[in-house]
Every structure is written in C-alpha cells, then in structure tokens.
Subunit: 657 residues, 2 copies
C-alpha cells in the first residue's frame, strides 16, 4: 500500500453530537482554563509557572525557573491544542493570544536556535549534558509539534521557523560526527515530531535525524552511561535512588535497539511516543525491519499488557509496563497520556497498514481511558485511571498512593490535561486515513470531510449518534461523479455489521476489518452502516489472574463499570446475573444523554458483626439487586465512591442463587 | 481471676513428635547457624557484625560500628533463645559460649550502666537524643529479656545484674522529673521487658517505669517533635522522606494515648510488642482502663485486620496495618516477627483472662505464619509471609518488591530469624497457664509438666500427634491425690470436641472456650480429649474484597495452600470442587510425615494464543484436575513457584462444570 497522509483539518468539520460537546468543552472551558493554569490564575491548584518561565528566559521578567524540567511542554501542548481548534473554527481572540505566546517563545529562543527555559534560566552550562533525565529533546519535540500544527492551522510560519531553527540546531549537536553527541532522548517524542516537521517542510534532514535517534537507541556502550560519567555522576531525579533513570535503561526503552526488543517495557508513555515515531519513520522510509518491530511490539502490548479500557502501564513505579498478563485493576497506573500516546501509535500503524485491529485499539483507548481522563465539566483531570477503586483502602494502604478517587484540578506534573486538549482538538486526524487505495473511515464520528480524489473534490458526510446508536449514515456530495473506494471499519466488538447503499443491502467485501466499497460515486449516494450494539460480556485471557471468574460489560466501543453512587458500597459483593437480559436507559443528572445499562444481579449481605473468618456451611446470604452500569469514561463525576469494571458473575446454571 | 504466672521451663519437658523436631532444629541447626551469622561466618549471607560491634564497644577490637541501629538486639534474641533451650536440655558448650557473650556485653556496658554499641561506638554524644528513630530502648528491652531468660534458665545473675544496672540507668534518665526526659521508645519492647524484669526481681520501680513509658505515649506536645527540634531536626532514616518516623506518629502508635486508641495502626511489630507490655502491666496493676484498651485493640486487630494465617500488617510501606477488612493476599507484609509479637500479646491476654479466643489466635499464628517464617531445613527465613505468590509478577511488578518467593539465608535487617529461634525455644511458656483457679492447657503439644498445687507436686503428661491427629491423651502422676482444676482449651476450629476420663465420657463444662474439670486427681488418671479434624472450608467476612468468592482449607489449626510444585502453574485457574470430599495423604520428600489434602477440582485450560479479551459465549474450557493442598507453613520448600491460600470454588449446584 502506498503512503497515506494526514487529513487537512480545514476540510473537516465535526458535526457529531457526542464529540461536538467535547470540542465545545475544549474551546470554551478547557483551553481558557488551561491558559489560566499556565498563567497561575487557578485558585487552589498546583502552580504551573510555565508562561512565566518563558518570560524569564526571554528577559521580560525577573525570577527563578519553577516547575518540572519539562514544564515548557505544557505550553507547547496548549499551543498545539489551540492550533487544532483554530482549524475547526476561527477565533481571533484565541489566535491573538497564541500569537503572543509564540512571540514570547521566539524571544526565549537563544541566538543559536536553542530553546528550553529550564536550561536557559537555571542551568545555562548544563545543556545536553543529561539526555537520560532532563527532557530537552522531549520539550523540543512538543514545541516542534506545536509549530507544525500552528502552521497547518493558520498558515503562519513564525513558530514553524522557530522550531526549524531549533531542529537545525539539534541536528548540528547530534549525529555520528566526531564533534557531535551520539545520544538520544531519555523521553522519546522528538522522533515523531521530526517526522511531522518533515511532512510540512519536506526536509529530509529531519527524517535522517529521527532515524539517528531511533537507531542510536540501546546501542552500546550506552550513551546514558557515557554522559553520566562525563557530567560527574550527578542526577536530576532521585525518586528511586540516584541515577535510577541511567541505571534502569528499560525504563526509557534504551536497554536494547528497538529492532531487537521483544516486549513492551518501561515507562508506558515513553514507549508509545517512541513507537509512534518509529512507525512513522518505518512507513516513510519503507523500513521493513522497523515495521516488523512495530508490529511485534504492538502485538505484545495490545495482546498481553493492555487493559480493556485501552489503558497501559500496570504499575505506578516508573509509570510502567510490568509483564505479560499482569493487569491489576486497583493498582493500575494507566496514565491518561499513555492512552493518548497509544492512539498516536495506532494512527501511524493504521497509516502504514489498513488493519482494523489498530483502529479497534485506538477507539478503545479514546472512548474509555482518554475520555475518562477529563471530568464531564472539563475542569478536572485524572492522571491515573484505575479499573477498580476503593476510596477507604486508598486512604490507608500505600499501594494506592498514586490513585486519586476523584479528578484533580491540576497537577505539579501537568502532562495529562493539555494532552487531552490536544488529542480532542486533533480528533479529525484519527477519523479518516486517506491512502492511494481508499478513504478509510476509522472512527464513526459525525463530520463533513472534503477531499480531492485525483483532481475531483468529494465531500463525505457522516452522521449518526455513535457511540450510543448503531446506525451510521454516510452521504456523498460531489459536483461530478468520482470513482474511488471507501473502506468502512467493521469494529471488532461488532459481530453482525451490515451495509445498505441507496436502499439496497450490499454484500461486505471485508479485508482486515474494513469493508471496501469501490464505485463511481455521485452526489446523493447514501450509505448506511449498521453496527448492532448488544451488551456483550467480555472475559479476559485465563492468564490474567486479576480477572479470573469476572466479566466486564461492553456496548459498542464503551466499557461499562459499576459505581457506588448507583449500586451502594462493597461493589465486590455484587454479582451479575447469568441471564443476559439488559435494559438500556438514559442516565440521570450529569449522565443525561448517556446510555446506562440495567441488569439483574445479587448482593452478599454484609453485616459488620459477622466474624472475620467463618467455617463451612455458613455461606453468606444473598439478596437480589438490580445493577446499574455506567460508561467507564463517566465514572467519578458524582463525588467519591467505589468503582469497578470487572464484576463477578452468577454461575449460569444457578441463576437464582 | 487471680494473677497467673509463667511456667518454670525446668519443670516442663517437650516430648511432642512435631515440636521435638523443631526444638532439635533450633538446638542443632538454628542456634549454631545464627551464632555463625552473628559472627559473620556464613558465606553469601548479608553480614551481621553484631558480635564485633560489642567487641569494639568493649574495647576488645578496633573498627567501626556496622549494621542497623538495632543490631545489638540480634545478639540479645540469640542469647534469649539459648537460655530457653538450656532450660530444656543442659549444654555446657553452648552455655560457655553464652557466658562468653555475656562477659562481652558486660564489658561493653558503660560505667553509668548505659549499654548500646551503636551509640557507644558511633555516636557517643547522641545518646537519648532520638527515641523516635533510634531503638535504644528497644535494644535495652531485648537485652533485659535475655538477662531475665538467662537467669531463669541458668540461675546465673551476671547478665541480670547488667540489665538491672541498665534498667536503673534508664529509670534515672526517664521520668516526670524536671531533669528527666519525658520520652518513650519509637519501637516498643522495653515495656514488656520491664514487666518481665519485675517478675524476677520484684522491684516495683520497673513496673512504674513501664507504666511511665505506656502512659507518656501519645501525650501532647509530642515528645518526638520536642526531641526533633532539640537535636536540630536531623533524621536517622530517610526511607519515605526525612523525619517520617517523627511525622507519622501512628507508625509508632504515638499518635494518641493507648487508652484512646480505637484501631490497630502503624507498624505491626511495634503494635503487638507494645500491647504485650500493656496487657502485662494491666494485669499486674489491675488497671481496668488499660485492660479495656487491650481488649478493644485486640478485637479490632483479630476481627478486622488479621490474615487467616495469623499474619498481621497488610502493607509493605511502614510494615504496617492498613484498614478494616483490607487484606490483600499478594502484597501482604505479614512479617514473621509480627506474628511472634501477636503470640506474645495473646499469651499475656490469656494470663489476664482465660478466654480460648486468645489461644485460638495464638495457635493460628504459631502453626501458620511463625512456622512458615523458617524453612524446614532451619537455615532459610521469610521476613514477609504472603498468602499468594506469583514469581513471574514479583520479577516485573514493583508492588511486590518486598516479597521473596523463596526463603533467604539472612537479612541486613535480621530481626526475624533469631526471633523465631527464641519463640520456639520458649514454646513451653505458651502451652500452659497456671492460675489460682486452674491449670489451663492452651496448646496441645506433647510434654511433661510438673507443678505444685498448694504444697503438692502434680505431673501432667500430654501426648498425641497434634496437629495431624485428633486424639490428645493427658495422664496425671502425683505421689498423693491432688484436688485441682484442669481447663482444656476447645479450639474454635473444632465443632465437636469430646472428653473421656478413665474410659468414661465426661460432659463438657465449657466456659469461654475451655472445658473445666475439677476433681481429686490420683496417679494414673487418664483424660482423653478428641478434637475431630475434618477439613473445613473457611470463608472471609464479606467486606474482605480480596477473598470474595474464595475459600481456604483448614484442618485442625493448619491452614492449607496450593503450590505450583503439586498443581502446576496458573493456580488462579484452579477451582475446588463443590463436593466436600477430601483424601488425607502423607506428603512426599520434604513433606514426609506431614498430612496433605487431596481434593477434586478443575482448571481453566489456558492457551497463549487466546486473545486478551474475548466476547460472550466464548467461555474458557475447563478440565478436571485433582488438587493437592499442603500446610501453609511448608510452602516454598521445593524451589520457586506459585502459591495461594484462597482458592476459587466451583458453584455447589454445578459440580461437574
């Protein structure tokens, strides 16, 4: 298959009832809120200081750098989110604010192209001395992504020029030359950013630099060790002992070259960011070895180390993967940013290979963990997205120290909130993939897209009420007939999809999860895709010990959960009936407009006066109880309470027990 | 009830087949091995340096102190274990070695009575400046216990004099006086030791000092804060940030006075050591408020926060309790020393109140966690005793960092191995309680005890094959008839005990878990107690979410578990049959002589090629499998493998599934 490229978001208009609300939230609430946060104007929230750091670096303000070594990236992500939103809808005020920030950033750039407020303000002599720990290339990557997005959105090249100078500067510093550094980032990100920069500049040096970073990774002797000795064995972090990021190379996926790596390891965000860049690079450069590595690691991650919610990272320590089939629900880390990175990786895999499996995972991550990362009010965020929460245990057992039972206003390490804003802003990039072969419809999100097929314009209108309703309508509009192929994804969760074209059922020509339909399209052609959405019970692989004997409910792409607010405390004492009878209802209060699921079940009657341990014969009494499941992404919007995704099930042969 | 006192171990001879082996192991293997360890003569083990520290403090050697700030206590515990063993069987060589150590300790004592090698060698100016963190009173307590035990065992008062001088010195330092310190230990231990010292010296000042330490605890302003300011805010430890032991007062049970405390909190060992001292003090001083506190905290601990194995401490962080009904099996801490301390607390509760509940818990801790702390070879030890182990997950998930899948030779913090030795050595103290009312038989351990009733000697011989067999024989031997009461414990796990006296069934006169039998005993009187031991399924309180739907097997006092060695990997895929059919077998190999349980069950067939998540209808295939349960205390004696105590159960109505 030939190379695909990104959709121009100016030609895509979101009309989806579900996502329009989110887009509005991002525009009206999230971006202004986060702008206030970046400027330290949110009461009772962790301070950010990110804008002020740029002011200081630009010489416009006096003071000290404050925040994480990667604080700059929050500003870059915000700018990127703004850019994507401006594609959707012009906003002079917002654009003027962004232009102002860009001028500030340009002023903070050093004469040689270097750009990083931490090192400029705090450690001017420390530049490029600690790649393992200090996120310089990561921040550069985010700024490059912002520059590319802002250029795409507005056509303005002010920030693009800044980041090209930055990239050129980096290109001079790093490389195989004798006077160059042979290093690579502790936190991948610049790889995918350089590939994006190449897309708008067509400059092959950016691909070469991305390749250099990817191929240097894991080579021996390890660059992290070399620079560690060179800088006198100092450490920026001391979380788990000095120099742990240097020592634990798998944390950064630096333990071996990516083409030799067999399993998804280390910091989950680093892993998926890296793999997104590697996939893009493999695709652009037709690199079969890297493509195989991408597929191998994708498979290991999604088939052994991913939660049903599309969350990744089974442990808090190192925000990292653990091992195959080790998926604890209550101590999970499953960072919002990791699932965003997973979507980024999936999108690039999909661009390389039109396989619905990638889109299935992308959708799973989007509709569950990514959405769960933000409250329905757009102002509160989860960094960690567990699948089971016991507030009482969180308060007393330190294995839950990383888990918050309710979303927070902001974080000292605020990577997640602006990342959610930028992924929601750029959602259009994920809906469609345009290849030489077909226009792939990956996600069912109401929208109007205009593309050129050959020299001919073609507009595709998608409508429906996904993820709640099963029917998706696609309408074609074109001034002249256009011969092309549409490829509609048939989600893995749907067992009986069907398609009707202009009133007539079409046999499905399915290849790797997509139904292909080639024809001469004329205006008014109408395609109706029906994806029946019965409630389905999901079971885990038998090696997942944490879910043994349990089921999760999924309807369409949505994973459901039980909350204490609807079902009372001690959710572990509930069992779902063996009967597959469900009642769809509309939620109430903050859940209005959302489909909730009612099912029958029972509950063990727990009395505090029972002994801690009791002998046989004395089986706990049960009483029937109606269970209410809500979409996982809506959890924790009604105060603190228990939540669980995986629930016990009554034995099928004893429905009444 | 009137006050009880300890049995004189010179008049108790252990004859029990089960425990004789352990005693022999302690004498022939554990004590010599630990002596070698204390002298750093064990290859590949963590160094101890404990004896060398005393040599340096005594001026007999040059060098630096090495080890934990409480390293002295390892020597004291070893001496105490030696003392108890000498009660059982004279051993001139061992006694000579011990005498030598005692001379060394005496030489290390400072002219003013102070005794602690860490401060004497390393921080002579730091004495008594850091009670919260530095274990001076804890080490003193252990040395006092050793002095008391050695005096009781040998009649020699050399060490007793040393520890009396030490206690007198401490009595001068601490107290309500203006020039005295108003502090109390960060790690309780001296309280129970002072009560023991009072027992042999009859010196009321020791009781008063114990009371001072108990009553000062938790008073405000907090002494730990005062001394922290006074010493310039320095910290000895930095595990969880500076001064965390000062800040987290509940860790040391210093957050409030014990008489106000409602729940078992903080470091589990500190808690039970403290409570053992408080119970002894309450008993001796007839202090009703303290007695109530003991009962209240005992109930909270044993009815809300104790594992079925008698383990306590649900979390690694702080080796501590968490909250009610929070009993994770795989991340449990359940330190060996904590269960030893639990036995110590239980014994003192039993001396205060003849309630079989205390003995039930004591027995549970002894036969399960305490025994599990040591390998069957007597040379390897567990510090942490989980109820569920997945070696593969331990290697990759940091929530298991504290869990070892196999026993270790020694530890840098070596509190547990010598503690196991001293509890096994002093086992005789736990078997019987002599009160003015009765001779209580708490544990069924074959032994020969001679006591005086009034002026009359009476010998009681106990025999049987406990914990494997259900019949216990008690025979009386006395030169002249003796009128007294025997009280035999009827274990909580036994639903149908029966008693036969000289061939005739005796109706049971049961009060609080003991069957009382008062009569005029004559030589040859024979009492047969039968405690039927069917295998019983144990269920947890419904609030224990970790055990929901699961059962554990218990037979007699022994909790059983599944091991990978017998049942294959993926133990979570096994289910125990709903049929209560069991076959008792004798174990093989290292399990020879031990009763194992065979039961029918089934297993989910796990193939690596199944998807991670699968939709309804596709229920995993099961195959029947015979399950072999072994006593929990025997686990991990056959290499590394999975283990679990709580197992899934087939639904009773669908035995074949």
């Amino acid at each position: 298959m030939k190379q695909s490229s990104d959709i121009d978001l100016h030609h895509l208009r979101l009309t989806d009832p579900f996502w329009r609300d989110y887009q509005r939230l991002v525009r009206d609430v999230v971006l202004p809120y986060q702008w206030a946060a970046l400027n330290d104007r949110v009461n009772d929230a962790e301070p950010s200081h990110a804008i002020e750091n740029f002011r200081i670096a630009a010489g416009r303000s006096e003071g000290e750098f404050y925040g994480m070594v990667f604080q700059d990236s929050d500003v870059a992500k915000w700018l990127e989110a703004v850019a994507w939103m401006l594609c959707q809808q012009p906003d002079d005020g917002l654009e003027a604010t962004a232009d102002g920030v860009i001028e500030l950033i340009a002023a903070a750039q050093q004469p040689d192209g270097y750009l990083n407020t931490y090192f400029t303000v705090k450690e001017p002599d420390g530049r490029w001395t600690n790649l393992a720990e200090c996120h310089e290339l990561y921040c550069a990557g985010h700024m490059i992504e912002a520059g590319v997005a802002y250029y795409r959105a507005t056509g303005k090249n002010r920030l693009l020029e800044v980041v090209c100078r930055l990239a050129d500067h980096i290109d001079g510093i790093f490389g195989p030359g004798e006077c160059q550094l042979h290093g690579y980032p502790g936190h991948p990100e610049i790889e995918l950013a350089l590939m994006a920069l190449h897309e708008v500049t067509d400059n092959p040096r950016y691909v070469a630099l991305a390749r250099y970073f990817v191929e240097q990774r894991g080579s021996e002797p390890h660059f992290y060790d070399i620079e560690y000795q060179r800088r006198g064995r100092t450490s920026h972090w001391n979380n788990f002992g000095p120099a742990w990021m240097v020592i634990d190379k798998a944390y950064s996926q630096a333990h071996q070259p990516i083409t030799q790596q067999e399993t998804a390891v280390g910091h989950a965000v680093r892993f998926v960011y890296l793999m997104a860049g590697v996939a893009h690079l493999a695709n652009v450069s037709r690199d079969e070895e890297k493509r195989q590595a991408c597929r191998r690691l994708w498979n290991n991650m999604t088939q052994r180390r991913m939660y049903i919610t599309g969350g990744i990272g089974s442990q808090s320590r190192g925000e990292a993967f653990t091992g195959d089939y080790d998926l604890p629900n209550d101590t999970a880390y499953t960072e919002s940013c990791a699932s965003i990175g997973l979507m980024m990786f999936a999108r690039r895999m999909l661009q390389m290979e039109a396989d619905g499996e990638y889109a299935d995972v992308m959708e799973r991550a989007l509709y569950n963990t990514v959405l769960a990362g933000m409250a329905l009010d757009g102002k509160h965020f989860f960094y960690v997205n567990p699948l089971e929460v016991h507030p009482a245990a969180i308060r007393c057992n330190h294995i839950y120290d990383h888990v918050k039972p309710v979303r927070q206003q902001w974080f000292g390490c605020a990577c997640c909130p602006p990342n959610i804003a930028r992924i929601l802003g750029s959602l259009g990039l994920y809906i469609y993939t345009q290849t030489d072969e077909a226009l792939m419809v990956n996600l069912y999100i109401g929208s109007e897209l205009t593309i050129d097929v050959g020299q001919q314009p073609l507009t595709l209108r998608q409508s429906g009420n996904y993820p709640w309703d099963e029917v998706i309508e696609l309408t074609v509009d074109c001034p002249a007939p256009v011969t092309t192929t549409l490829a509609l994804r048939l989600p893995g969760w749907c067992s009986a999809p069907s398609m009707v074209l202009n009133g007539e059922t079409v046999p499905l020509d399915v290849r790797k999860g997509y139904a292909y339909l080639s024809r001469r399209w004329t205006s008014g052609d109408q395609l109706q895709l029906t994806l029946p959405m019965p409630v389905r019970r999901v079971r885990s692989h038998p090696r997942v010990r944490q879910n043994q004997g349990k089921v999760a409910l999924q309807r369409g792409p949505l994973v459901y959960c039980l909350e204490q607010a609807d079902n009372g405390a001690d959710l572990h004492n509930l069992r779902l009936s063996g009967q597959h009878v469900y009642q769809m209802e509309e939620g109430e209060g903050v859940l209005a407009g959302k489909t909730v699921i009612r099912a029958s079940g029972d509950r063990i009657v727990a009395g505090g006066e029972q002994p801690l341990y009791r002998f046989d014969g004395d089986i706990a009494a049960r009483q029937t109880q109606s269970l209410l499941f809500i979409p996982y992404f809506c959890w924790a919007n009604r105060g603190e309470g228990e939540m669980r995704v995986w629930v016990d099930e009554q034995p099928p042969s004893a429905p009444g027990r």
